[in-house]
């Protein structure tokens, strides 16, 4: 199939990049792009497919980053294991917040606000808890090139790690999309009463979406903390991070497989295009994100994927 061939070619190209390009800068930019696509896909499971908009996904990101780093710092446990513990904790917290919210039928803006509040609670708590480093946060102690401890002498290793994570996630979400749970999540997003009438328990499906979404986002957070060897309450749990997480799937197209990846690519390119400016003025890139977000809401209400799709539909019907 030409389609499969195209994907394989793209994949091969992605795998070749660090071998061909020596620039640390380019590798770093691509690493972050994949990383944002990864956490964006995590948000997308709950916010896009299941339609439960969360304005507080930094909650799970922070939990993943903190758990993996703390396990290493305090117990000497390798982050390769710690990241899964972080995912497990995030699932636990997600189930609690999800249970509270969905039990009481919270949705729309109310749900978004509750998630924001939960993330803020964790941020304030982390800021005031010395055991987890207080407002200063955690510096992951560096051990040189130690692949077993998720530490690499060369940043290119991180590139391959996040590329593999992103591939695995994309494959898993593609499966999810075509599975019973995936269809049930979409049905709930599209019309909760109708889904209920067809034998779907909205509470349980939303909780499942929450758990998956929390786990993925936490894995992303763990990667971030190991990549930068640092995490603090604002970076981990802050509202700005929640916005960063949801921005790319929104721009690319929430509830679509390729939306988060497309969004990460577009914002990544945009970030490159405006890098000169951004360097001299702190905040400029977020200002731009604000404009993009507003523009996207008006001109691309279903993201780039939505626009592409409606073009496709138009073409099919004309044919």
């Amino acid at each position: 199939m030409p389609r499969t061939a195209a994907w394989l070619a793209l994949l091969a190209a992605a795998a070749m990049v660090p071998l061909v390009i020596r620039s640390e800068y380019v590798i770093g930019t691509l690493t972050l792009m994949y990383f944002f696509a990864f956490v964006g896909q995590g948000w997308n499971i709950l916010g896009g497919y299941a339609g439960q908009f969360s304005f507080g996904h930094a909650l799970f990101f922070g939990i993943g980053a903190y758990t993996s780093s703390l396990c290493f710092l305090k117990l000497g446990l390798t982050p390769w294991v710690g990241m899964w513990l972080g995912a497990a904790v995030a699932v636990g917290v997600g189930l609690v917040t999800g249970h509270l919210s969905f039990r009481y039928g919270l949705r729309g803006a109310y749900f978004a606000l509750v998630m924001l509040a939960f993330a803020e609670i964790f941020r304030v708590a982390a800021t005031n808890w010395d055991f987890v480093g207080g407002s200063f946060g955690i510096l992951v102690p560096l051990q040189g090139h130690a692949p077993r401890l998720f530490q690499f002498g060369d940043k290119r290793y991180f590139y391959y790690v996040i590329l593999a994570m992103l591939l695995a996630l994309t494959w898993a979400v593609a499966r999810l999309e075509r599975s019973r749970l995936g269809y049930q999540m979409i049905a709930i997003r599209e019309n909760e009463a109708a889904a209920d009438a067809l034998g779907i328990n909205p509470y349980r499906v939303k909780l499942a979406a929450m758990a998956l979404s929390a786990a993925v986002t936490a894995l992303g957070g763990a990667f971030y903390a190991q990549y930068f060897s640092y995490i603090d309450p604002a970076i981990g749990f802050g509202p700005a991070n929640s916005i960063e997480i949801l921005l790319r799937p929104i721009i690319g197209g929430a509830g679509t497989l390729w939306g988060p990846l497309l969004g990460a690519l577009l914002l990544g390119l945009l970030g490159e295009g405006t890098r000169g400016l951004v360097k001299s003025y702190a905040g400029l890139h977020l200002m731009l994100y604000g404009v993009i977000l507003m523009g996207a809401v008006v001109f691309l209400p279903r993201g780039v994927m939505g626009a592409l799709r409606s073009l496709g539909v138009g073409a099919a019907e004309r044919a």
């Binding site: 075509r178 599975s179 019973r180 269809y183 049930q184 979409i186 049905a187 599209e190 019309n191 009463a193 109708a194 889904a195 209920d196 009438a197 067809l198 034998g199 779907i200 328990n201 909205p202 509830g255 539909v313 019907e317």
Partner: protein, 243 residues
């Protein structure tokens, strides 16, 4: 054998008694027509039976089991499915995917659900539209889709809320055939309908609601003669027209 047993079901909305002490039953393999003027409480009865509205009093039994107060999805899983008068498709999904969502009520496998959905689409004569997005369908076809989706849950009892109103005469005839086919497959059915010719021809029995009260339940031939039904709903000339 009685499949559905509704006893003294009541529901108030503020000052309005939408249902008062309604009792009726549905036998295995039966088609029961439910008629009555606008606002009589027909949709509310469906909603109370399927768990969308909590009744103030009374009970509903499905095959001898109490289902009053269960949430809608639990009732659907037990084999009682409904359609909505105001159609509620999943607009972003295609026609076949809409039906698959219903089929997942009985299977975990997407392949089985798709096969089942295609069968249902054939039965409901929607097969040629399988790939269309649901939001692109005409209102008549959306009603058919509503029916197909509910049928895909493999119910024992199907509650159809005005699946024929607003359809062209050809579409109505087609839908009548589809409903007969469903009954042949062993599903018992209650149909709410304002299209008199269709509901009279289709139903074994007719129940009439008026101001939330059940005022008659009898064969179509008896109903058209019933004084109270004529006064409340059918009216003389209309009753006359229905031979």
């Amino acid at each position: 054998m009685t499949l559905i047993e509704v006893r003294s079901l009541s529901k108030r909305f503020g000052g309005l008694q939408a249902l008062s002490e309604v009792s009726l039953s549905l036998a295995q393999g039966e088609i029961l027509g439910l008629i009555g003027p606008n606002g009589a409480g027909k949709t509310t009865l469906f909603a109370a039976v399927t768990g969308f509205v909590r009744p103030d009093g009374g009970s509903v039994r499905l095959d001898g089991q109490e289902i009053t107060g269960l949430p809608p999805h639990a009732i659907c899983r037990r084999g009682l499915a409904r359609t909505f008068q105001l159609v509620q498709p999943f607009p972003e999904l295609s026609v076949v995917e809409n039906v698959m969502v219903g089929a997942f009520n009985r299977t975990r496998s997407a392949a089985v659900a798709r096969r089942r959905a295609l069968e249902v689409l054939a039965l409901t004569r929607l097969a040629p539209l399988a790939g269309r997005p649901a939001h692109a369908l005409s209102i008549g076809l959306r009603k058919r889709l509503e029916l197909a989706r509910a049928l895909a849950t493999e119910p024992r009892v199907l509650l159809l809320d005005e699946v024929m109103s607003g359809l062209t005469p050809t579409e109505v005839d087609e839908t009548v055939e589809v409903i007969r086919g469903i009954r042949e497959a062993g599903v018992s059915i209650i149909v709410i309908e304002h299209v008199m010719a269709a509901v009279m021809g289709l139903s074994d029995r007719i129940a009439v609601l008026h101001h939330g009260e059940l005022i008659a339940a009898a064969t179509p031939a008896e109903i058209v003669q019933d004084r109270r039904v004529i006064d409340a709903y059918l009216g003389e000339p209309l009753a006359g027209k229905r031979e």
